[in-house]
C-alpha cells in the first residue's frame, strides 16, 4: 500500500543492471534492424551464448579479460554461422533462422546431457563466475545509499554492476553515434533502404550485412554477460521472451536512433514495474495472484508492441521518414 515504496521500486529500475543489459541488447539490435534492416529475432541467442562464454570460462579459471573475449568470440562465430546461409535470403528467412538458432542454443544449453558444462536447466550459479568480477571492484565493501536507492557496493546486485553496465551502455551509444554518421553507416542505411541500389554501386552488400550482424551480436553478448552478473546463468531466463522484450523497447524508444534503445529500456522497465507493483499492492491476492500479475505484465507488453507497430512505428524518438520497415 505504501506509495513511496512503489515509486522508489519503479524508479530503481531506471538504473538497474537488467535495464542496462536490455539497453545494450537493444543497441545491438538497433545496429541489425535500425541501421541495416536485418530482422534478427534471436538476440537472446547472442545474449545466452555471451553469458555461457563468460560464465564457463570464468568457472574454469580464466581471467576477466579472457572470459569477455571468449564471450565475444562465441558471438562472432555464431553470427557467422547464422549469416552465411541466410543473409542473402528474404527477411522472413533471417527472422525464422535467428529465432530457431536462439532456441537451439537454449535447448542444447539446458539439456541434461550438457549438465557438466552448462549446468543443464539449473544453470550456473553466481559464485562460480562472479567472484573475479566482484573482486575487481575499486569500491570499498559495504552498502551505499544514493538518493532513493540502497545497494551493496560490490556483491550481487551491486553498485559496481550498475556502474560497469551503464558505462558500457554509454560507450556503446557513443560508438553507435560515430558509426551512424560514418561512411560505413551510410552504406548500411543504404542497404536498409534499397539493397539493390547499393549493390549496383559496387558495394558488397552481404559483407556489410555480415559486419552489421557480427557487431550487433557482440553487443548482444556483452548484454548477456551484464544480464547474468546480478543473478545466475539460467538458459530459460534468456529465452525468446527476452528477444521480444528487446524488440518492444527498441521500437518504443525508436529504431534507427542513437538514444532510442536506452530511453526505450528505461521507460519500459520503469512503467512495467510501476504497473505491476501497483497491481500487487492494490488488487487483493485472492482476486489476482502474483503469478497472474506477472502474466498481466506480459499481456501489457504484447499489446503495447502491437499498438506501437501499428500506430507509431517510429517510437518515441524516431523519424517517421526514416522507417526501417520494408516489406
Amino acid at each position: 500500500m505504501d506509495f513511496v515504496t512503489i515509486i522508489s521500486n519503479a524508479l530503481g529500475e531506471l538504473i538497474a543492471p537488467t535495464t542496462a543489459a536490455y539497453a545494450l541488447a537493444a543497441i545491438g539490435l538497433n545496429i541489425h534492424f535500425g541501421m541495416t534492416g536485418l530482422m534478427n529475432m534471436g538476440q537472446a541467442g547472442f545474449m545466452l551464448l555471451g553469458a555461457y562464454g563468460f560464465a564457463i570460462s570464468q568457472s574454469m579459471g580464466a581471467n576477466l579479460f579472457a572470459s569477455v573475449c571468449c564471450a565475444l568470440a562465441l558471438a562472432v562465430i555464431y553470427a557467422l554461422l547464422l549469416g552465411i546461409p541466410t543473409l542473402k535470403l528474404g527477411p522472413d528467412y533471417l527472422a525464422m533462422v535467428t529465432l530457431a538458432a536462439a532456441e537451439i542454443v537454449r535447448i542444447v544449453g539446458r539439456s541434461t546431457a550438457m549438465t557438466d558444462v552448462t549446468g543443464g536447466s539449473a544453470g550456473i550459479s553466481p559464485q562460480d563466475f562472479t567472484t573475479q568480477f566482484e573482486s575487481a571492484s575499486p569500491l570499498p565493501d559495504g552498502a551505499t545509499t544514493f538518493l532513493l536507492w540502497t545497494y551493496s557496493n560490490n556483491i550481487a546486485n551491486s553498485w559496481w554492476v550498475r556502474i560497469v553496465g551503464w558505462v558500457l551502455v554509454a560507450i556503446a551509444a557513443l560508438l553507435c553515434w560515430r558509426w551512424f554518421h560514418s561512411p560505413w553507416g551510410r552504406v548500411l542505411k543504404g542497404i536498409r533502404e534499397d539493397e539493390n541500389a547499393v549493390r549496383s554501386l559496387g558495394k558488397k552488400v552481404t559483407v556489410y550485412k555480415m559486419q552489421s550482424l557480427i557487431l550487433g551480436g557482440v553487443f548482444g553478448a556483452l548484454a548477456g554477460i551484464l544480464f547474468v552478473l546480478p543473478r545466475s546463468v539460467q538458459p530459460d531466463s534468456l529465452g525468446r521472451q527476452v528477444t521480444f522484450y528487446t524488440w518492444t523497447l527498441l521500437l518504443l524508444g525508436g529504431a534507427a536512433t542513437v538514444l532510442g534503445p536506452i530511453l526505450g529500456s528505461c521507460v519500459l522497465w520503469v512503467l512495467l514495474t510501476f504497473v505491476k507493483e501497483v497491481m500487487r499492492n492494490t488488487v487483493p491476492e485472492t482476486f489476482i495472484s502474483s503469478n497472474q500479475v506477472e502474466a498481466l505484465g506480459w499481456v501489457i507488453v504484447g499489446v503495447a508492441l502491437m499498438c506501437l507497430v501499428i500506430f507509431r512505428p517510429q517510437g518515441l524518438l524516431g523519424d517517421r521518414k526514416e522507417l526501417a520497415f520494408h516489406a
Binding site: L89, S111, R199, G302
Partner: protein, 463 residues
C-alpha cells in the same frame, strides 16, 4: 542473387554444411549409455515415458523452492524445485531409479532422508509414476495415488494391458515406436502448418501467433470437457468453432485494416509477435501454468505389430488425415480452392481476373485457425494435456516444417511436417530426448543452406 555473389555462396556454403553435418554426427556418435531423463515442469505418463516426481516440503509442510534434485539409475538428470516445491522427471526406460537431494539441504529443512529408490514400469498402471517424498522416507508412493496434482491422469480404472516384453523395448522396437509416434506428431504438425502456409501464401504474413491458436483449441476443448461437461466430440467441435471464430474476428479487426492501410508484412509480423505474447499470457492468466488434461482417463493400450498404441491416438491420426485430405480436395477441386491457389500465386492477377481477394483471405484465416484449433484438441488428447505454452513451443517446428516444404506451398507443409515430426522423434534414439526439437531446427538451417526454396518451392530469387 547476382552473378558476382553466387561463387561466394558456393565457397561458404559447402564448408559450413560439412561443419553442421559433422556437428550432428558428433551428437550421433557420442554414445549415450546412461541416456538422459528430462526434467519437466509437470509429467504425465504415456506409452513411451514414465514419471518420477514429487513435491519437496519441509517438516512443517512448507514448500522448498530452488533445491537441486538429482536422478540416477537407468537414466540420469537434475532439476530444481519450483516455487511451490514441485519437481518432475520424464524417463524413457523401465527400471530402478534413485532420486537424491543434497544432504545438507535435507538436514537444514529437517527432512528425514535425502535419497530414495523407486521402480518405474511404463506398461504397468501402478508403476508408470513414482512419487518421492523426502519428508516421509520409505513412503515412496508408487502409482497414481500421490499424483492427484497432475491433470493428465486420475483414478482411471483401466489397466494397461501391454505385455511386459513390449515395455522392455529392444532397439528395433524402439525404432518402430519412435517412427510411429513421429508420424502421428508429424500429422498433427501438418494440420497446423498447412493452415499457417495458406495464410503465408495468400497474404505474405508469417504468423507468429499461430502457436497460440493451437493452444486455444486445446484449452477450449478442456473448457468443454472439464468445465461445461461436454462429451469429447462436442468439446472438439466447440473448440474448432471458437478457433474459426477467432480467425474471422482477428482478420476483420486486425489484419484486414492493416492490409487496407498497406502496412508492410514485416510490420505485420511484429504485430503477430505482440499478439502471440499477449494471448499466451492471457492463457496463463486464466488457466494457470499447469497442464490441463482434456480426457481424464488413461486409455487401454494395445500392440499393433511392433508398436504400442491406443485408440484415441489412432483416432486422432485418422481425423488428422481426413481433414488434410479434405483441405487438399478443397484446394484442388472446388472453385473457392482454385481461387485460393490463384491468390497465393499472384494476388494482383487474381484480383484482375475477378476473384474477390479479401473474401479468399477471410476464408483462409477462418480455415487456418480452425485447423490450428483442431490440431490443438488432437494434440491435447495425444499428449494427455495441453498447457498455456504448448503452441509456442511448437511454433518453431511449424516454421521449420513450412520452410522445409516450401513457403506458401500447401502440400509442401504437410510433407515438411511429416519429415520434421519423424526426425524430431527418431532423433531421440541417438541424442538426449530433451534435445530432439533442436535436431528439427537444425534441419531448418541445413535446408536453407542447400535448398532455400524448400522441397516444393519454385526455384526463384528469394533474396
Amino acid at each position: 542473387m547476382t552473378a558476382a555473389a553466387s561463387p561466394r555462396r558456393r565457397r561458404w556454403g559447402i564448408p559450413l554444411a560439412t561443419a553442421v553435418i559433422a556437428l550432428l554426427a558428433a551428437f550421433a556418435i557420442n554414445p549415450s549409455q546412461a541416456s538422459a531423463a528430462e526434467a519437466v515442469p509437470v509429467c504425465n505418463p504415456t506409452a513411451t515415458n514414465g514419471c518420477v516426481n514429487g513435491i519437496l516440503q519441509d517438516d512443517a509442510q512448507q514448500p522448498i523452492a530452488g533445491a537441486t534434485i538429482t536422478l540416477s539409475g537407468k537414466e540420469s538428470g537434475t532439476t530444481t524445485t519450483g516455487a511451490d516445491g514441485t519437481w518432475a522427471f520424464s524417463v524413457g526406460a523401465d527400471g530402478k531409479y534413485t532420486v537424491s537431494l543434497d544432504p545438507s539441504v535435507a538436514k537444514q529443512h529437517g527432512l528425514k532422508g535425502s535419497s530414495e529408490t523407486v521402480e518405474i514400469a511404463k506398461a504397468s498402471f501402478d508403476k508408470q509414476r513414482a512419487v518421492v517424498r523426502f519428508d516421509k522416507p520409505g513412503l515412496a508412493a508408487s502409482g497414481s495415488t500421490g499424483a492427484s496434482e497432475s491433470a493428465g491422469e486420475s483414478g482411471g480404472s483401466k489397466t494397461a494391458t501391454a505385455s511386459a516384453d513390449s515395455a522392455s523395448a529392444n532397439f528395433g522396437k524402439r525404432v518402430w515406436q519412435q517412427l510411429y509416434s513421429g508420424i502421428i506428431f508429424g500429422l498433427m504438425l501438418g494440420l497446423m502448418s498447412v493452415g499457417m502456409n495458406l495464410v503465408y501464401g495468400t497474404t505474405g504474413l508469417s504468423s507468429f501467433s499461430h502457436g497460440e491458436q493451437v493452444t486455444l483449441g486445446g484449452l477450449m476443448a478442456y473448457v468443454g470437457t472439464q468445465m461445461l461437461g461436454m462429451p469429447v466430440w462436442a468439446a472438439a467441435v466447440f473448440a474448432v468453432a471458437v478457433g474459426a471464430l477467432t480467425g474471422l474476428v482477428q482478420n476483420e479487426l486486425v489484419w484486414a485494416p492493416l492490409r487496407r492501410k498497406r502496412v508492410g508484412t514485416m510490420q505485420q509480423m511484429i504485430v503477430t509477435i505482440g499478439l502471440s505474447m499477449a494471448l499466451q499470457y492471457l492463457f496463463q492468466f486464466f488457466f494457470g501454468g499447469d497442464i490441463k488434461g482434456i480426457v481424464r482417463s488413461v486409455p487401454a493400450s494395445f500392440t499393433l505389430g511392433p508398436i504400442t498404441t491406443d485408440m484415441p491416438t489412432l483416432l486422432s491420426a485418422g481425423i488428422a488425415i481426413l481433414v488434410i485430405i479434405g483441405v487438399t480436395v478443397f484446394l484442388y477441386r472446388t472453385r473457392l480452392g482454385r481461387a485460393t491457389r490463384a491468390v497465393s500465386d499472384n494476388p494482383a492477377l487474381a484480383a484482375a481476373s475477378g476473384i474477390n481477394v479479401e473474401q479468399v483471405v477471410r476464408i483462409v484465416w477462418i480455415l487456418s485457425c480452425a485447423m490450428a484449433a483442431l490440431s490443438g484438441v488432437l494434440l491435447g488428447i495425444y499428449l494427455n494435456g495441453i498447457s498455456w505454452n504448448t503452441g509456442a513451443t511448437l511454433l518453431l517446428l511449424m516454421f521449420a516444417a513450412v520452410t522445409l516444404g516450401g513457403l506458401g506451398t500447401a502440400n509442401g507443409a504437410l510433407v515438411g511436417s511429416l519429415i520434421i515430426g519423424i526426425v524430431a522423434d527418431m532423433s531421440s534414439l541417438v541424442i538426449p530426448s530433451d534435445m530432439r526439437y533442436a535436431s528439427a531446427l537444425a534441419i531448418l538451417i541445413i535446408v536453407l543452406l542447400i535448398r532455400p526454396q524448400g522441397i516444393f518451392g519454385k526455384a526463384q530469387r528469394v533474396g
